[in-house]
């Protein structure tokens, strides 16, 4: 082919298929541009940047929703590679887009209600937030190792700045500095691992990796050994583990959450995890071609390792949360623990997909159910974590403190926020009838099923159960202070009542937690449908 033919092919591919399928990302880019133009042309005297951001997020959510529904109508068997194989558009992508857009709308609303960025800083803040969200959507639809790195970086770099957004606060600057140092280091190690993988397999395209791996191992080439592949995969997972704040790459998380404002912490704790989990699932499944190859034992052990790390992460997060006095730091450790639970779900998927040949008969169906559990958990996690951080943000606006002891007796002052916090925290513990219980149950069920492949998974299940009990203490401590302790007489008032906008918003975010605990079938079947596209 000569150059002109390649160019025409490229233009055709881009304009006719690819651009049309990335409308949400394009809308967000357009919003970023309008935000910057709003400030440039001083239109922000008439239109607040926050509203521009909200409108942009809504429109993007609308497009993501239409895409998802259109996919559902058409039967949804589309697996369309975009931009010469760099991205992929399928049900999984569409699900994460709608998830992230909904979350973005809710977070932007929260920042409007809590008044975090003022008019002057508004465009900057929303640019960063939207940029990070585009990065997360790219992560969820990645099909190439370059995009893996690009997506992680696109998410991380704006996050570094968002953590340090309040320039004058000492803790914010320290938190951002530690975060950027950690993040850059992890990204570097991940890139090195990617370079080795690309070179070894001769391609960066994830959908081709499984075949190339087959070819290499079956040809008896001595360069390739299970250990070498495992080391490379682990290096890549270092970067992903950092993004997910998994032990032992979690050290940035408590500091970053404490230094950042509650809204930013809420955003980071949910959205970047969702994108990173989507990416991790795609990456892990890129190596499993569905039938047991020569490297099956290696991948099985990688899955077990991931499970053990997940159990350690959950245990560490739950135990370290005991001694916390700052509620955002406590929620940061709870984030680490919940990332551990969700990673247990991922490990179940990996183990089930890499079962020995005699147990492979139902592997795809079992792994689909395991992934369904993870997706359900993520959806509930979005609402319950956002609810908790929203409550923290609104209380902070009134009492200017995030210490747990300053929450004493709040139930007498603002019962709405306290009841919503109660629902979110009981859901985080994993109690019925809230959604957190259903998500945890699904993940535990998938762990049990994976245990029939290898017994270590049963130990991970026991660790998960034990950790549920551990987590009881520190969540109840916050609730005990809010509900049981008397309010000191000189404490400031928190003016969030029935009918006020913050109250209404908190209820709006908390009600799905209850709904997802009772009306399980809808999201469950959607999640199963979405998950099945990764297991052809």
């Amino acid at each position: 082919m000569n150059f002109e033919q390649i160019l025409n092919l490229f233009i055709q591919d881009t304009t006719q298929t690819s651009v049309g399928l990335i409308r949400p990302e394009l809308i967000l880019c357009g919003t970023i541009l309008s935000l910057l133009l709003v400030r440039l042309f001083s239109i922000d005297r008439w239109i607040t940047p926050s509203w521009v951001a909200l409108v942009g997020a809504f429109v993007a959510f609308g497009f993501a929703a239409t895409d998802f529904l259109a996919l559902k109508e058409s039967g949804g068997e589309v697996v369309q590679e975009l931009f010469t194989g760099l991205l992929v558009f399928d049900r999984f992508t569409a699900f994460f887009r709608i998830f992230l857009m909904l979350f973005l709308v809710l977070v932007v609303t929260l920042t409007i209600l809590s008044g975090l960025p003022d008019n002057e800083d508004g465009p900057d803040f929303y640019t960063l937030m939207f940029g990070a969200t585009i990065g997360m959507m790219v992560m969820a639809s990645s099909n190439h190792l370059l995009i893996l790195f690009l997506g992680v970086e696109m998410t991380s770099v704006p996050s570094y700045v968002m953590v340090g957004f309040l320039k004058g606060r000492r803790v914010s600057s320290e938190a951002a500095f530690k975060y950027v140092v950690y993040g850059a280091g992890a990204a570097g190690v991940m890139l090195y691992g990617i370079s080795l993988l690309c070179g070894l397999l001769g391609t960066g395209n994830m959908s081709l990796m499984a075949e190339r791996l087959e070819l290499l191992t079956s040809s008896g080439d001595s360069i390739v050994s299970g250990t070498a592949i495992a080391v490379m995969i682990l290096m890549v997972m270092v970067g992903l583990a950092f993004k997910l704040s998994i032990f032992p790459f979690h050290f940035w998380c408590p500091d970053a959450f404490e230094g950042a404002t509650a809204e930013v912490a809420g955003f980071l704790s949910v959205a970047s995890k969702a994108g990173a989990f989507a990416l991790l699932v795609r990456f892990a499944l890129a190596f499993s071609s569905g039938d047991a190859g020569a490297l099956q034992p290696t991948f099985l052990y990688i899955g077990l390792g991931v499970g053990v790390i997940a159990a350690l992460s959950a245990t560490y997060g739950n135990l370290a949360a005991y001694s916390q006095t700052n509620v955002k730091r406590l929620l940061a450790y709870s984030t680490i623990a919940h990332a551990g639970y969700m990673l247990m779900g991922v490990s179940a998927v990996i183990v089930l997909m890499n079962a020995p040949a005699d147990q492979m008969s139902e592997a795809a169906a079992n792994a689909t159910r395991a992934l369904e559990g993870l997706l359900y958990y993520l959806a509930v996690y979005m609402f319950m974590n956002l609810g908790a951080f929203a409550v923290v943000a609104f209380i902070r606006n009134s009492i200017f403190s995030e210490e747990i002891d300053d929450y004493a007796g709040l139930v007498s002052v603002t019962p709405i926020l306290c009841v919503c916090m109660l629902i979110c925290m009981f859901s985080l513990i994993g109690m019925p009838p809230f959604g957190g219980f259903v998500g945890k149950f699904m993940i535990f069920a998938s762990l049990f099923e994976a245990g029939s492949v290898h017994w270590v998974m049963w130990l991970v299940l026991v660790a998960g159960g034990v950790n549920t009990v551990f987590s009881l203490f520190y969540y109840l401590r916050v609730l005990k202070v809010m509900f049981l302790d008397p309010r000191p007489a000189d404490a400031p008032d928190v003016d969030v009542r029935w009918g006020s906008l913050p109250g209404f918003y908190t209820i709006l975010v908390t009600v799905p937690v209850v709904i997802l605990g009772v009306f399980v079938q809808g999201l469950s079947s959607t999640a199963q449908n979405v998950a099945s596209v990764l297991f052809p």
Binding site: E153, V157, Y160, V161, V181, G188, S323
Partner: protein, 100 residues
């Protein structure tokens, strides 16, 4: 000058970068370590592009990485500047108000 030599150079850069990140107390030094690691990976990419079936992909990736490294360095340096404005030091160990 086979593939192995280039990979060796890349590995040396990677290891020096990691050691730099782990031991340096000066924030700028730490970021230099990060750059070393990223460029070690770049060397790998270009070498693989020349010697294996990776083809043009490797060179494209390394171009992207250069851009990303620059963007990341800019952001990291601005955060370091902010840290300096607040703490009057660039020493990483001196940030200890966030503990536990």
């Amino acid at each position: 000058m086979g593939l192995e030599s280039y990979l060796l150079v890349g590995a040396v850069l990677f290891v020096s970068g990691v050691v730099c990140m782990a031991t340096k107390r000066n924030g700028i030094g730490l970021l230099m370590g990060v750059e070393l690691v990223l460029n070690g990976a770049n060397v790998n990419f270009v070498a693989f592009s020349r010697f294996t079936t990776l083809g043009l992909d490797g060179q494209i990736v390394s171009l992207f990485v250069i851009v990303l490294a620059a963007a990341e360095a800019a952001v990291a340096l601005s955060i370091a500047l902010n840290f300096y404005n607040n703490h009057l030091t660039i020493d990483v160990d001196r940030g200890d108000e966030l503990k536990g």
